[in-house]
């Protein structure tokens, strides 16, 4: 079972974007986010240091406790980590520590690691109508058979790029760049 505990709803004002009986959209609290690039060897070492191995299968996610590694491309992963403490501050220190630990573990094997904690924000879309709401703007088959729990992909949300991760049968996480969030939220609120 994928872990959704990684994403905690934000408690700030306006964090609830949509609140209907059959679907809710909520802003998620900040996370440490790292973009990791490299080959399988690098990924292997990075995974060991990170605490969640980097999946090699396309569109796969590997959540482990407060960590998750998401496959975004054959040499690209998005690493997510929560600090474990409740708060609305971006965990820079955690990001920094993770960067250092992973960099040390991978060593001189060619790779790239970039802190993108602040670049992305996340929305949690949940409820029996979650897939239907997303399908107003996302052209993917979100039937559970076609897009099972655990699948993650970058895709388009009409004119915004997002990362879409199904964390449960009725729960999705939408990651997007910070300045696109009002657009994504606006369309979800209207949908």
């Amino acid at each position: 079972m994928p872990d959704t505990a990684l994403y905690a709803p934000a408690t700030t004002q306006g964090a609830s974007v949509v609140s209907r009986p059959d679907v809710t959209v909520t802003r998620a609290a900040p996370l440490a986010r790292l973009a990791f690039r490299g080959d399988a060897t690098a990924a292997g070492k990075a995974g060991a240091a990170f605490g969640a191995s980097l999946p090699m299968a396309p569109l796969a996610a590997n959540p482990v406790g407060q960590r998750a590694a998401l496959w975004l491309g054959p040499d690209e992963w998005l690493l997510l980590a929560a600090s474990g403490t409740v708060g609305e501050e971006v965990p820079w220190a955690l990001a920094r520590t993770l960067c250092d630990e992973i960099a040390t573990a991978v060593g001189t094997h060619p790779h790239a690691l970039v802190d993108v904690s602040e670049r992305n924000v996340a929305l949690i879309v949940s409820g029996p109508r979650a897939a239907a709401l997303l399908n107003t703007q996302v052209f993917l088959d979100l039937d559970e058979g076609a897009f099972p729990v655990g699948q993650v992909t970058r895709t388009l949300f009409t004119k915004a790029e997002i990362v879409l991760w199904r964390t449960g049968p009725d729960t999705f996480v939408v990651e997007c760049w910070r300045s696109f969030a009002p657009y994504v939220e606006g369309l979800l609120a209207n949908g």
Partner: protein, 101 residues
Amino acid sequence: MLLISCPWCRVERPEIEFRYGGEAHIDRPAQPADLDDHQWAEFLYMRSNPKGLLAERWRHVHGCGRFFNAVRHTVSDRFVCVYKTGEKCPDLEALAREGAQ
């Protein structure tokens, strides 16, 4: 809207996730300085633009971000195959003969 299968993600996705990259297998010369103006113009601008099978580049820009190549028929817009960047161009004439049968 085309349905394109990404050889990296191994899924079919709608065209809006992809960006077209023009004709494939037009490799940038290793030593551009050695080319005369004609040859350089050939590399820069001349394209086969065929009515039929075309090996072309696509990038799964809103997906895995990777480039790959595809063979597509430019009249039916049907994809014949996709393959990863760096792999050899299939024999288009053979594919055309197969398609005709």
